[in-house]
């Protein structure tokens, strides 16, 4: 079997391992912190091990794609893909992930059991892996959203701190909002391209760029990418997200989550890039972010904040490189993704160690640590030098490539110098903040008033930093050997074209780019030297605090929402109903005024005397109920008349089944209302204000006129029906001549199953409400008379008892004939219910209680089981659910009888109806009985 399986199946398998692994740390938690850490690391290692077999073919230039239909009608399929770009990111996500897990084990306090933290981290890691392995773009957006949600949980991990909660909410609002824009953009993209599969979208690139919707798609997709990658002006969430534990910052805010935005740029590069709109918007935003982030980083006193702004700046650099849209700039961008992930993750980890050891991150107090923790200091200094772009380190190489591209770029007409100058300024600032980090933290005198006495961290806590710093050096000195093939295949996947010839080496000769590097190094040191003047100058600038702006906007929106809610949702049912009715009127009126008219039919039915009298009685009953509703008992009598006339209407217009049902429901409903009225006040107070009555009359008349109008229009329009099939098939297909019943139990049995389920739920709900209910019945009636002594008159009692078997026999008869003549489970159930309830009324509930089951919910279940069970039986005959069978049987004494399997189904219906009626009525009756026996 195995050899038939495609190796591409490893992609979903790795994702399943990752997502399934989310439970691992939680399960390992009881076995201690070490077990939890190992379990988490093992999940990541296993996912990586599953992907590694595919790497060799990807480096060979192949793209591994696997496709599984899910919702093909919507273009939403399980499409997975591994190409060079995905491979690069998988390695970053899983490789750095394992290091972060090891680091977090030592970073988080010992009382933290780690299970929850690692579960969140794995969830995030899985989603991130999902993004980079998705072939289907909709699937990618789903994973994208999961990263936003799981990063919310991670940033808010120290949920007791107000700062963490605010920061998490802000990150969620910004990246989640961007995610929505991205979803819209991807949907449009898929609509234009005709597919959501990346391969097909890439193939349709020219079509997309020519489409009038292209600018909209580009804007929406870039909004998604820029919010995630913290590009100006959406950058402000990232520095605030530093409230997260440092392993989270090292993972999410250096290597993975913020890289998702630039990953998206790279992913859709072959689809969207190359136009002027792309070049200008992406490179300008990238350039602004590059310089702004570097400038702000210089002034942070908190070294984690410095790293955050530096991250923003570097992300701007990568964005700028993708924006320039030349093959070499793309290679430089991909290369910088690798380098930045390596040096920034190690710097965050080192910063976390320092924070951990000193108890503060304020560079005005954390000084001179070189003497106290020389090894960590050396590691951090190497990484920071890489960040500054010092030769022999990896950061230097990609920065050098950037400078070269800046010089060579000719895209901006007549302004060739702008880009190199910008690049040099950014380089100077990057050196300045790196120097500040190194000098302030490790030198610059003695530590001032630290909460703790710092010393070297535990041995294994440093290991991840050591590995990453070693990588900085290896990549910096032997770039082609270390990452050459990885870079080539990733850049190839971005460009979707053969790569230009390029040379990954340290020394490119004494060229302009090298001069720019030298200027940056010298200028950066110079700026740091005169930092005091600069800081003074900076503090005089008006502060551009987008965080408070965001908070103010948030508070304003919440206040407005609450104000609207106070108007709409004031807790008054009357207002809700009035709003609903007004909405119906306005909406239906609008629909009517814009719609067409029904074709009219000339023939009308003449009005006969009997019908006129009946309908007049109905109207009188209706008006009487309404006008006299304050006298409740009278209103119940009058509404009974209305129900009777409705039954008569059904009789008149050829609906015997409906008439039977309506009649029996009417009896049960009236009994129910009378029982309720025993406890409720006998009269309604006249309390409505005149204006309220006026408003209600307007609404009621409006809706009544609308209903009358629609009914008239419907009744007089010409008629065509789909019922021909049912009428023809009822006897041959359903084995019954009562078409209504055959439709209920056979043709549309599934509907009926749903309906009796609803009925059973209503009954259970009533059961729950009545359970433990205590009510005191009034001692006197509305006019102050005592209740009659003789609650159950002997005459009624005696009359009812012989009636019971008769009524039950009628019920059985109605049930059995239902398939062919008016009747069936619904009616028979109601008749049985009425017969049994009449016994209670005549003989008292205690009398009935002794003779009837006390607890009805199991009968509801039994009925549903009958109905669903007979449906399942058809599976054993390899037929769809609820297929019926029927045949003729010769039974002694009774003669030949036609039986259909649906009779079992109808029996289920019958049971549910009986149980519902009895449950509600006997439990209502029992309220009183309970009282008597209390």
């Amino acid at each position: 079997m195995i050899e038939h399986l495609s190796p591409a199946l490893l992609l979903p398998l790795a994702l399943m391992v990752a997502f399934g692994g989310v439970a691992m740390p939680l399960m390992a938690e009881p076995y201690g912190r070490k077990a939890t850490t190992i379990a988490t690391g093992a999940v990541m290692a296993l996912a990586l091990a599953l992907l590694i077999p595919l790497f060799s073919s990807v480096i060979g230039g192949q793209t591994v794609v696997m496709h599984l239909d899910w919702l093909p009608a919507f273009g939403f399929n399980l499409g997975f893909r591994l190409d060079g770009l995905g491979m690069l990111f998988s390695i970053l996500i899983l490789g750095i992930g394992i290091l972060v897990v090891l680091y977090a084990h030592y970073y988080l306090p010992v009382y933290d059991k780690l299970g929850r933290f690692f579960a969140f981290l794995l969830l995030f890691m899985s989603a991130m892996l999902g993004i980079v392995l998705s072939e289907n773009l909709l699937l990618m957006v789903v994973f994208w959203e999961i990263t936003s949600l799981s990063s919310f949980l991670l940033i808010a991990y120290k949920s007791e701190a107000y700062e963490s909660r605010i920061a998490a909410r802000m990150a969620l609002a910004v990246t989640g909002g961007g995610g929505l824009a991205l979803l819209a953009g991807i949907i449009l993209l898929g609509q234009v391209a005709g597919s959501y599969e990346l391969s097909a979208v890439i193939a349709a690139a020219d079509l997309i760029k020519a489409d009038p919707l292209y600018p909209v798609i580009l804007t929406l997709v870039l909004l998604g990418a820029f919010t995630k990658s913290a590009q100006f002006p959406f950058h402000f969430w990232l520095p605030n997200a530093m409230a997260a534990p440092t392993p989270v910052s090292a993972y999410l805010h250096s290597a993975t989550m913020v890289k998702a935005g630039v990953f998206l740029l790279a992913r859709l590069y072959p689809v969207l890039s190359g136009t002027d709109a792309w070049v200008i918007s992406v490179s300008v935003i990238g350039a602004i972010t590059l310089v702004y982030g570097a400038y702000m980083a210089m002034y942070r006193d908190d070294f984690k904040g410095l790293l955050a702004y530096s991250t923003i700046s570097h992300l701007g650099l990568i964005t700028l490189l993708f924006g320039l849209s030349t093959p070499m700039s793309v290679i430089a961008g991909v290369f910088h993704i690798i380098n930045h992930a390596i040096f920034k993750a190690s710097l965050f980890m080192a910063a976390g160690i320092i924070d951990h050891e000193c108890g503060t991150r304020d560079m005005r107090r954390v000084n001179g640590l070189f003497k106290l923790m020389p090894i960590t200091a050396t590691l951090a200094m190497v990484a920071a030098a890489s960040m500054a772009g010092v030769p022999l380190l990896n950061g230097f190489l990609s920065k050098e490539m950037f400078f070269t591209e800046a010089v060579l770029f000719t895209g901006f007409d007549g302004a060739h110098l702008i880009l190199p100058i910008f690049a040099t300024i950014a380089g100077i600032l990057a050196v300045a903040y790196s120097v500040r980090f190194i000098h302030d933290v490790f030198f610059n005198g003695e530590p001032i008033d630290l909460p703790r006495q710092p010393h070297e961290p535990p041995r294994w806590m440093r290991v991840p930093v050591e590995i990453l710093v070693l990588l900085c050096l290896v990549v910096g000195m032997f770039p082609a050997w270390a990452v050459g093939s990885l870079l080539a295949s990733a850049a190839g996947a971005v460009l979707q074209a053969p790569l230009p010839a390029y040379d990954l080496k340290i020394w490119h000769g004494f060229n302009l780019a090298f001069v720019m590097s030298l200027i940056a190094l010298a200028g950066g040191v110079g700026i740091y030297a005169m930092r005091r003047h600069l800081i003074e100058w900076h503090h005089k600038l008006p502060s551009l605090n987008s965080r408070t702006g965001f908070e103010r906007l948030h508070r304003y929106l919440v206040e407005q929402a609450e104000r609207i809610l106070r108007v709409l949702d004031n807790g008054s049912l009357q207002r809700y109903v009035a709003l609903l009715c007004s909405f119906v009127l306005v909406y239906a009126g609008w629909a009517y005024s814009t719609g067409g008219s029904l074709p009219q039919n000339e023939s009308r039915m003449p009005l006969d005397i009997a019908s006129m009298i009946a309908l007049a009685a109905l109207m009188l009953g209706t008006l009487g109920t309404t006008l006299l509703h304050h006298r409740r008992l009278l209103a119940v009598v009058l509404i009974g008349i209305v129900g009777l006339v409705v039954s008569l209407t059904f009789v008149r217009f050829s609906a015997p089944d409906l008439a039977l049902t309506q009649l029996s429901v009417e009896v049960v409903t009236i009994v129910l209302m009378l029982l309720a009225l025993y406890y409720l006040p006998q009269r309604s107070p006249k309390e409505s204000s005149r204006s309220r009555i006026g408003r209600d009359i307007v609404l009621a008349v409006g809706i009544g006129c609308g209903m009358a109008f629609i009914t008239y229009a419907l009744l007089t329009s010409s008629f065509s029906t789909i019922s021909g099939y049912y009428l023809e098939q009822s006897v041959p297909g359903g084995g019954g001549s009562n078409v209504v019943n055959v439709i209920l139990v056979d043709f549309r049995g599934f509907d009926t199953l749903g309906e009796i389920a609803v009925l059973a739920m209503a009954a259970l709900g009533a059961h729950a409400l009545l359970d433990q209910l205590r009510l005191t019945p009034p001692a006197k009636d509305a006019v102050g008379r005592l209740w009659a002594e003789e609650a159950h008159p002997l005459f009624l009692k005696m009359l009812m008892r012989p009636l019971l078997p008769l009524a039950l026999a009628v019920a059985v008869y109605i049930f059995l004939r239902g398939h062919n003549l008016p009747g069936g489970g619904f009616v028979a159930g109601l008749v049985t219910g009425v017969a049994l309830i009449l016994q209670s009324l005549a003989g008292g509930f205690s009398f009935a209680e002794q003779r009837l089951p006390k607890y009805y919910p199991p009968f509801l279940g039994l009925g549903l089981a009958f109905a669903a069970g007979i449906g399942l039986v058809s599976w054993f005959f390899a037929r769809p659910f609820l297929t019926s069978a029927h045949g003729h049987f010769d039974i002694p004494l009774l003669g030949e009888i036609e039986l259909a399997s649906v009779i079992i189904f109808d029996l289920g219906v019958y049971l549910v109806v009986v149980a519902t009626v009895l449950l509600i009525l006997t439990e209502l009756g029992r309220l009183h009985y309970r009282k008597e026996n209390a």
């Binding site: 019908s611 049960v668 309604s684 809706i703 609308g706 409400l769 619904f826």
Partner: protein, 132 residues
Amino acid sequence: MEAMLAIAIGLLSSCGVYLMLRARTFPVILGLTLLSYAVNLFLFASGRLVVNAPPIISAEANHYTDPIPQALVLTAIVIGFGMTAYIVTLALRGLSESGGDHVDMPEIPDDDTSKAAIGNQPPAARQKEQQS
């Protein structure tokens, strides 16, 4: 006949809506019942008015009325009963919880002065009141 039935349905829904807008539970139950009559009749009428042609297959009959609306209305009647029953029990539960039969707990009277006072309270404060 068509006009007459249309007027009857209109009146049923009018009165149903008016009663549903009342402030006490019992009229609301009556209103819902009237409205279900109206809706059931309306659905039934979508099969048009046909006399003496029940949808029961027999050799003598030469035409039948439309059985589909009937099947739909039949279950609607029974479910309508389930709904009424549920609301009646809800009303009784409300009576036992709040001691009154007003549809709102706590009562929100409809004269405008006291409404303003209640409306200005944040929902949380109202909830607290309810619990105490």
